[in-house]
């Protein structure tokens, strides 16, 4: 028990240190650009751009922290919120890894497996983008070829189809209500689409947890 506390505490300690260092590095990047090119940003444009962008993404970002921390684990969270692409890459990767290893996200084993999968995924992503940037000239026509466009457009359905089979087959009773709710919402509310799916993730999570609690109390699960 003591050892478990030690590892988790150290994850949080190093997570904070790294998180703050990386945040400073990223936030100072535009500042350094100003110094190098001896140019200030256009503050009117800056304000307009931030007002158009920040409110929604800050709101989503804050909700995402609450939604994803319990699923990603501590180490996974510290890495994912720096390297991004959580719902379309890091979290499915971690969920799949924990599922195959047979560990729970809230256990220390889950914490370790999740961290390993997300760290590997982050490193591989960075490497692939690095290779792509180096070879951008020959790669551009391939990546933009009209033949391949549909494949990249359909990455989310292709990803969640497989993932859904794994989880629905294991939790058939629990999955009925959230799937019906989400299908109804997305089909009949036109405002729900690719750019708003992020807001619906916490809705789905909270709803499913409540349904699970009711079914569990009634002895259905």
């Amino acid at each position: 028990m003591k050892k478990e506390l030690n590892y988790m505490d150290s994850v949080h300690r190093y997570g904070r240190i790294w998180g703050i260092i990386v945040a400073i590095a990223l936030l100072s990047f535009p500042l350094i650009l100003s110094l190098i090119f001896k140019t200030a940003p256009d503050f009117g444009v800056l304000l307009a751009g931030i007002i158009a962008t920040a409110p929604m993404y800050w709101a989503v970002g804050i909700v995402e922290i609450f939604t994803y921390v319990p699923m990603l684990g501590a180490g996974g969270t510290y890495l994912s919120f720096v390297t991004g692409n959580i719902s379309n890459l890091k979290l499915p990767c971690a969920i799949d890894a924990m599922e195959r290893a047979g560990v729970k996200a809230t256990s220390e084993e889950g914490e370790v497996i999740s961290t390993i999968s997300i760290a590997v995924s982050s490193i591989v992503t960075t490497l692939i983008i690095l290779i792509g940037v180096i070879c951008i000239v020959p790669l551009t026509p391939i990546l933009e070829s009209p033949v391949l466009v549909p494949a990249f457009d359909m990455i989310l359905p292709a990803l969640f189809g497989g993932l859904a089979v794994v989880f629905i087959s294991k939790n058939a009773k629990l999955s009925v209500a959230p799937i019906i709710l989400m299908l109804a919402l997305f089909i009949f509310v036109p405002a729900l689409n690719a750019s708003t799916v992020g807001i619906m993730v916490p809705v789905g999570v909270i709803f499913t947890v409540i349904v699970a609690r009711i079914l569990y109390k009634r002895g259905v699960l």
Binding site: T39, Y57, F66, M71, A97, A101, A158, I187
Partner: protein, 245 residues
């Protein structure tokens, strides 16, 4: 220094920040692998976690690269390289850059020549999504502690809670897959494309699961998710051609 969207100094700066981010991943990876050993997690399990995470990442990472290429037309290569290697998802960065370009009165697709516009865009992209980056170091510990208590008293509920979270997230994305099917009544079949792709991916996953258990092809479980992802993506090509994109 004279400004250019692909100025070498930009690559040096971006390279340094990305190296820092990779160092963080390597640091946590090394510690988690060491801890896995102490916890008695089988070496084979760790190895499989590493290889299948790497294989699974390839297709989504190439999709991210497509975003870098798209944004590089107006922003050069260095800035999109940074933004999509850290935090950003393609959807966010495209929106943020678009908002900033619009505010600057500059159109997408034309290469930026004014350093002030470039720097302003870099600021908008950075600040617009900094919530997680700034808050995570301060709130994660508390949040994770309180979540860790769920299931301590009641192990069965802990497991159900865990599955419910994942299912909730998956159900939201399943809903998203169906977001355009209402177009079908208007005769536009393109709304069915994501549904068909999802179905293909689901079938591949189900077949992998059956073969892994019935025919005892064990390695298949480790690569079932990347396999269903790739087959699903490839199937999108003929499906889109058939139903019209």
């Amino acid at each position: 220094m004279e400004f250019h969207v692909n100025s070498p100094i930009l690559f040096v700066l971006v390279g340094a920040i990305i190296a820092l981010v990779v160092a963080q991943s390597v640091f946590f990876l090394a510690r988690a692998v060491k801890r896995a050993k102490e916890l008695g997690i089988a070496k084979d399990t760790v190895k499989k976690t590493v290889t299948s995470a790497a294989v699974f990442t390839i297709a989504p990472a190439v999709a991210v690269l497509v975003g870098v290429v798209a944004l590089s037309k107006s922003l050069g290569v260095a800035l999109p390289w940074l933004r999509l290697s850290v935090i950003g998802s393609i959807t966010y960065e495209t929106v943020a850059a678009g908002n900033a370009l619009e505010a600057a009165g500059s159109g997408a697709g034309t290469t930026i020549t004014d350093p002030a516009v470039f720097i302003t865009i870099a600021w908008v992209m950075t600040v617009g999504i900094a919530a997680g980056l700034i808050l995570v170091p301060f709130v994660t510990k508390k949040l994770q502690r309180s979540m860790g208590k769920i299931g301590m008293k009641d192990k069965k509920w802990g497991e159900i809670f865990n599955n419910a979270m994942f299912l909730g997230m998956i159900s939201a994305f399943l809903g998203y897959v169906f977001c355009d099917v209402a177009l079908v009544v208007k005769g536009d079949m393109s709304g069915l494309i994501p549904v068909c792709v999802m179905a293909v991916s689901a079938v591949v996953m189900a077949v992998c699961g059956l073969m892994a258990t019935k025919a005892r092809i064990r390695w298949l479980t480790d690569y079932a998710l990347p396999l269903s992802l790739i087959v699903g993506m490839v199937s999108a090509i003929p499906i889109t051609a058939l139903l019209g994109g």
